[in-house]
Amino acid sequence: MIELRDIKKGFGDKEILKGVSATMESGKVNLIIGSSGSGKTVMMKCIVGLMTVNSGTILYNDQDFTAMDEHEKKTIRQEIGMLFQGSALFDSMTVEQNVMFPLDMFGKGSYKEKKKRVMECLDRVNLKDAAKRFPAEISGGMKKRVGIARAIVLNPKYLFCDEPNSGLDPQTSLLIDKLIKELTLEYTITTVINTHDMNTVMESGDHIIYMYEGYKQWEGSNEEIIFAKDEKLNDFIFASEFLRDAKEMRQMEMFRDKNWRDRLQGGKPEK
């Protein structure tokens, strides 16, 4: 579990994060959404320690990450896997060597055991056949899957994904979302995804944090978002007529479900 307590971050006079508090639970896909410039990338970089917060606390399983020295932070970082927007694969290494790298650096055991683990991970992302190819020789979707394999090879407790669907076609996007969701449940990882993709929001978002101008504007699940009354959130999520129609259809579907009807009448899902 990751807990953020009133984190603030600014550059010079410009305040980017204006006191954000949130909890990201393990075994769930936690999404950070928001328009460009809302502070979601800065927030993710602060959580993983690529940037330091100006004030506030970040807790990894009740351990204060912000108060740790570099050596202690390294220990936490070895429990983190991250999928970058551009995949960030090492160009000079093959797919297999890319996935092997964290094992070579931190893993124990023989080469045979490491290779077996690499093949397991590549198999998990359906890329066993591409093991000997270089990043320049594979497609964008495949690169993302290699990035996922590299991120999970050390069995991380936390998985961070920065825009995992950017530049991918809808079908590949869905495949990546499904894969991340499955891995989150399989290994009970705390997954945090920074995304613009509405499919991801509706299909995988167990817990959604909507950022607006440096504040946490709304928080809830992908079911609750359908009935959310927040105007800014609705403008952002259901921006097109098509999406607004889809929302109404989903609302009607959910209203047929007795449990949801009761919850709505109790006013619970609304935030």
């Binding site: 390294k74 220990t75 970082r77 983190i80 970058f84 960030a88 160009d91 650096m105 931190f106």
Partner: protein, 247 residues
């Protein structure tokens, strides 16, 4: 301007300080060091070979052109060529060329890694990127560039001899005789001192500019150019300083 100088100098020192930490896996650091040594050393052999031969050849021809007096023995040409190459051309000219070849490679490689978030990926894994990426480059340069300078010295003198003999300026025996006259071992020590200093400048300055690239592909090119320019200026400056101090 002054502020920017101090900013860059401070950041450069911090980068150097940040390199020193316990390696996460010494084997991987060793592998990286060997890789960098091969890239810098073997990768630059071709260009060092070519410039050294021509550098020696031109030095012989131009020295002979200026020594027109019949009372000066021809062996003196070889002596001048030897000392010029050992004292100046082999360490300085080779290093300036290597600043272009190796420096731009280091800056663009690290710049590309920064832009494509590969450095961030390593940081997230808990790796000290300055230690893993920058230190092996500096150590690799310190290991190989002095060797390249020694090779450049030998090749330069040999090239000088070949040019002299082929042009009919000096015979083979006269050239060998000249090489053996009044050789100061201190000159070799001086040349090696310069080559270590220049190796450190080329690798660390280029690594600094590459490691701190911000922006896109255009900035990688700019960082690469700046790295080469700053390295060359610092090489010339330290060449003068070392000559003033050590000679």
């Amino acid at each position: 301007m002054e502020f920017r100088f101090f900013y860059h100098f401070g950041a450069y020192l911090l980068m150097l300080k940040g390199m020193f930490s316990k390696p996460e896996n010494p084997k991987m650091y060793w592998k990286q060091l060997m890789q960098q040594s091969v890239d810098i050393g073997i990768g630059s052999l071709g260009i060092v070979f070519i410039i050294s031969l021509f550098m020696g050849g031109v030095t012989t021809l131009q020295t002979a052109y200026q020594l027109v007096s019949p009372i000066i023995p021809k062996a003196t040409i070889a002596q001048i060529v030897r000392d010029t190459i050992i004292l100046e051309f082999a360490p300085t000219l080779t290093s300036i060329v290597l600043a272009g070849v190796v420096g731009s490679k280091i800056a663009s490689e690290l710049g590309n890694m920064r832009i494509s978030e590969q450095i961030d990926a390593l940081e997230i894994m808990g790796i000290n990127t300055r230690g893993y990426l920058v230190m092996p480059k500096i150590l690799g340069a310190l290991l190989t560039i002095p060797c390249l300078v020694v090779i450049a010295g030998f090749l330069g003198i040999w090239g000088g001899k070949m040019a002299g003999v082929m042009a009919g300026i000096i015979s083979n025996d006269e050239f060998i005789q000249g090489l053996r006259q009044e050789l100061k071992v201190y000159n070799i020590f001086f040349a090696l001192s310069k080559s270590y200093t220049f190796a450190f400048i080329i690798s660390s300055v280029s690594a600094y500019y590459g490691y701190n690239v911000q922006g896109g592909a255009l900035e990688i090119g700019k960082a690469s150019t700046t790295a080469v320019v700053v390295s060359c200026v610092l090489i010339l400056f330290s060449d003068y300083a070392l000559s003033a101090i050590l000679l």
